[in-house]
């Protein structure tokens, strides 16, 4: 019966909804074409082919030239080292935390705090962290009495040579991200019973989890882990704020080459972008090899029969680290608020001399435009993405075919390919299309990164919606579109608004896409904050960064509150 009904719907869909059938194709074009074309337009000059500069000598010359630039080698080492360190730590901490606390109240509590944390732009957190950690930062101000200092110590805390502060800044968001991804994956593997069984056999909390749950969830969080690896190797804004600058990480190094006033430097720049791309691909490959090795060694350890400790140590360690990460993030936000309200605040005072709204009133006019651009770009990119994602999912429902793994991989492409490796090429493409420096180009560039997140957060709730609602509605004579609008959308309002909030947060936090597609004409709160972070008055920077952090947070809270309010008369929907 169900089968024949589905056939009926499918045939109807085929005859009537050809636009809908185009949806997946359209989506792929919208968000993969700029990436692929951008990559191509980067690789060609990297190999020496740049007609606009009259360069046709294809070969490895530009690559060699790139490696001969002062600092290139060190920059490469720094990138690889910080990338692996950040990913390994983020992954380890997320696993430790999930293993120690899965299904506890503390876990749910931390989860509630982690989600809004993810909404805050990464660069905002990084700038706040500088305000905390720098030798003249809040921590040293608070501790100055105890340390007996009246001047900031002449030590390097942020932008250290080893990139450790940069790794720490990456962790602040990567750990919550991977933890939440793990939580989502846990929902799919139902770990409670296997954990209980393992515990009954005498394994400790951590040991039981690592043996029975970890092997099943790892495949589900593999792509997010790769995304963290790619992100920490290629991020620009956080690196500008936190990583050393002489030489900087590879992506910043490449950005400098692209911005050089000697256009010929674009060729080694493109070569550097290609190197970055290869490094990221190679690192993901290396990580995969590591997975296989760990699995081999792990099997032996698994079957060794050792039961492991009770897990008290790992538990308190996990709790301690998680609380510390949360504490740092929220203190970062707080120190921004303090600075933005400071009359003046000299070292070593623990708090500002006095509070005033002067900085806010003086700069609120200037902040208006970037806030507006952030808002319009975010909302538009979210709406475009949401429409495409809904069409794809609806098409999937009507066609009755789901190919999860393949679409998932495609969706991750903009998250795995370093932005620096293709955005330069994308800009060239946008110039040819005449949309660079306009709203269309800007929003399009944002959709590339917003769409995957909207899809990822909406696909599961959508697919797990009980199909009997749809069937009943169809049987009652509703058209498929009516079912879509009157049944599915209202029922999925909550996950949809959360998906929108996540998408908005992603857009609000983007730096490089705005820089490249906006051609300097568009400034968002994030680009302004990163620009101002290079120096100047902390109080003014704090105003920008505080707003930058709070805006996506507000949208996120609204996304939680709004569906509840709209469904206030329907208890079952809450």
């Amino acid at each position: 019966m169900a089968q024949s009904l589905r056939q009926l719907v499918v045939s109807k869909a085929e005859s009537r909804f050809s636009l809908l059938r185009l949806a997946p194709f359209l989506t792929l074009c919208v968000f993969l074409a700029p990436v692929v074309a951008g990559l191509a337009a980067t690789i060609l000059p990297a190999l020496g082919f740049h007609p606009a500069l009259n360069r046709y000598d294809i070969g490895l010359k530009c690559l060699l030239q790139f490696f001969s630039l002062p600092g290139a080698g060190r920059s490469l080492q720094l990138t690889i080292w910080t990338g692996f360190l950040a990913t390994a730590l983020a992954f380890g901490l997320a696993m430790l935390f999930s293993a120690s606390f899965c299904h506890t109240r503390f876990f749910r509590c931390a989860q509630c705090l982690l989600s809004p944390l993810l909404a805050m732009p990464h660069s905002a957190l990084a700038i706040g962290l500088v305000f905390l950690l720098a030798p003249s930062g809040w921590i040293f101000r608070l501790a100055s009495g105890a340390l007996g200092i009246t001047r900031p110590p002449n030590v390097i805390t942020v932008q250290d040579d080893w990139g450790l502060s940069f790794v720490f800044a990456v962790l602040l968001k990567a750990v919550p991200y991977l933890t939440l991804m793990t939580t989502a994956a846990l929902g799919q593997v139902q770990p409670a019973r296997s954990l209980a069984l393992a515990r009954a056999m005498g394994y400790g909390v951590f040991g039981a989890w690592i043996r029975t749950v970890f092997p099943r969830i790892y495949p589900l969080i593999r792509l997010p882990v790769y995304a963290v690896l790619a992100f920490s190797m290629s991020v620009v804004d956080v690196a500008l704020v936190m990583a050393p600058s002489n030489p900087p990480t590879l992506s910043v190094f490449v950005l400098r080459l692209f911005n050089s006033k000697d256009l010929a430097m674009q060729l080694p720049g493109a070569a550097g972008a290609l190197v970055l791309f290869l490094i990221v691909v190679g690192s993901i490959g290396l990580w995969r090899v590591g997975e296989i090795l760990v699995a081999r060694v792990g099997r032996r350890i698994y079957s060794s029969g050792r039961r492991g400790g009770s897990g008290t140590v790992s538990r308190s360690l996990a709790a301690g680290i998680m609380i510390m990460l949360l504490l740092f993030s929220f203190s970062a936000l707080m120190v921004l608020a303090l600075w933005s309200l400071a009359d003046w605040w000299r070292f070593p005072d623990a708090f500002p001399h006095a509070f005033t709204l002067t900085t806010w009133t003086r700069h609120i006019g200037a902040v208006g435009r970037p806030a507006f651009v952030t808002f319009v770009t975010g909302i538009s990119a979210v709406l475009v993405s949401l429409a495409l994602v809904l069409l794809c999912l609806e098409n999937e429902d009507r066609m009755g075919s789901i190919n999860r793994s393949r679409t998932l991989l495609l969706l991750y492409i903009p998250l795995l390919v370093p932005q620096m490796a293709f955005l330069f090429g994308t800009q060239v493409l946008f110039i040819r299309l005449g949309i660079v420096g306009g709203w269309i180009g800007l929003i399009w560039a944002h959709v590339l990164f917003v769409l995957p997140y909207v899809f990822l957060s909406l696909a599961d709730p959508w697919r797990s919606l009980d199909t009997r609602y749809r069937r009943s509605a169809l049987c009652l004579g509703a058209s498929p579109w009516k079912v879509f609008f009157r049944v599915k959308l209202p029922m999925l309002l909550k996950p949809m608004s959360v998906a929108c909030a996540i998408g908005f947060a992603v857009s609000a936090g983007e730096y490089l896409p705005t820089v490249f597609a906006g051609a300097g004409r568009f400034a968002t709160l994030t680009t302004e904050a990163v620009t101002l972070a290079s120096g100047g008055d902390r109080r003014v920077l704090a105003v920008y960064v505080f707003l930058q952090a709070v805006m996506p947070l507000a949208v996120y809270l609204m996304a939680i509150v709004l569906p509840g309010w709209m469904h206030r008369h329907r208890a079952g929907m809450l």
Partner: protein
């Protein structure tokens, strides 16, 4: 090209004799005013100084109110982006509708743009306020880092390199490079300079070169392959000796002058530097610096230059840009620009040509407790040829950024 420019200049001079009314009511200017209405001008300008950012906001508000021109500040950190943006557009054949309409520019970036034919103009003689109030024959405005300006850019502010210190912490600041080296050795970690990619950092090195070089005249000709090493050798010897005693042992540098001001305010270093003799006063007024902060210059004097405004050749709002430049050259805008509590940049207007009312307003400006008067500043040392700056930056990176 030069001949045409001369002819125009002559015409301009003739025009200026007619006085304010004539220039502002000329048919050409009225046409420009008409065309500018409704245009959006994207002004790429270094955004490191909060005071200038706020000043640009004020200019934007006035330009909109008075002329119907929408002015947007495209904030940049690295002035090299001024060149790369337009140059990239030219190479892909985007000769109209460029993304930028107005540039705050000078020195090596102006020279690069001029060389690549990226500038619109000459246009300065069409600006009534330039014709009326600016002494076009002043060598500070005819040449930018020794490169002839040829009417392709209009000056809008004068800058002079100054050092800033807190007199409560540092009694006698070092007034020569030899003294500075001695100071750094005696007080390790208490001195630094902005990173060399930033113009403030490279200007510091040029200032050192000025004092250390035997024959200064060589600096006004392009740096050559065969003389650069020889001329700059003493600079690097001096710097090698200084570097280990710098803040963070010379392994980190503040990103810009304003970033170093923040270090001075925090007590991390004892000396900062700026291109504005009024900056310290402004920062005392807004609470960042303690009241004891003062400004000083080196015994041999310090490098000075002019800030200019230019229009990219492919701008889509050239008229709007000209209106904005003309407004920036008005006595009112210049007066606000010089007020240390607002921006603190020396005016480019010729006091002799101003109406009495404005001459008085300028004279009445309170320059602030930490500013140096023009007499104390003395005549600025002219900027070396831009090739010196480019090469010094490259050489510094070759030596120290590996």
């Amino acid at each position: 090209m030069l001949n045409v420019w001369c002819a125009i200049a002559a015409f301009c001079t003739a025009l200026s004799g007619w006085g304010t009314a004539a220039a502002e009511e000329s048919v050409e200017w009225k046409t420009i005013l008409g065309r500018a209405r409704g245009q959006t001008v994207y002004w790429k300008a270094w955004a490191g100084s909060e005071a200038t950012n706020s000043y640009i906001q004020w200019v934007a508000k006035e330009a909109n109110k008075r002329y119907g021109v929408t002015l947007r500040h495209a904030k940049i950190v690295n002035p090299a982006e001024l060149v790369s943006g337009t140059l990239a557009e030219k190479t892909v054949g985007k000769h109209t509708g460029g993304s930028t309409d107005l540039l705050w520019i000078n020195g090596e970036n102006f020279s690069a743009m001029k060389k690549n034919g990226l500038l619109y103009g000459p246009f300065t003689c069409e600006l009534p306020n330039f014709v009326n109030y600016v002494d076009a024959n002043n060598s500070a405005f005819t040449h930018d880092f020794t490169v002839p300006v040829d009417g392709l850019e209009a000056p809008w502010g004068k800058a002079q390199f100054v050092f800033i210190y807190d007199s409560a912490v540092l009694r006698v600041p070092p007034k020569s490079m030899a003294e500075l080296l001695k100071f750094a050795k005696k007080n390790p970690g208490r001195f630094t300079h902005p990173q060399v990619r930033n113009f403030m950092g490279s200007t510091f090195l040029k200032q050192v070169l000025y004092e250390i070089v035997k024959d200064r005249s060589v600096l006004f000709r392009p740096a050559m392959e065969d003389n650069f090493d020889k001329v700059t050798a003493p600079l690097w010897t001096w710097y090698d000796e200084l570097k280990p005693h710098l803040w963070r042992k010379g392994r980190r540098f503040p990103e810009s002058g304003p970033a170093q001001n923040q270090l001075l305010a925090d007590g991390e270093v004892d000396i900062s530097m700026s291109f504005s003799p009024f900056e310290a006063s402004r920062l005392i007024l807004n609470g960042m610096f303690p009241k004891t902060v003062r400004t000083y210059i080196m015994d041999i004097g310090t490098i000075g230059n002019a800030n200019f405004l230019a229009i990219p050749y492919n701008s889509s709002a050239k008229e709007g840009a000209m209106i904005v430049i003309n407004f920036l050259l008005s006595p009112e805008a210049q007066w606000r620009g010089q007020d240390p509590s607002i921006r603190g940049s020396f005016t480019v207007l010729d006091m002799k040509r101003l109406p009495d009312q404005y001459r008085k307003k300028f004279a009445d400006l309170d320059l602030g407790p930490a500013s140096l008067s023009p007499e104390e500043l003395g005549p600025p040392l002219p900027e070396p040829h831009p090739s010196w700056m480019d090469r010094i930056i490259d050489e510094w990176h070759n030596r120290y950024a590996n």
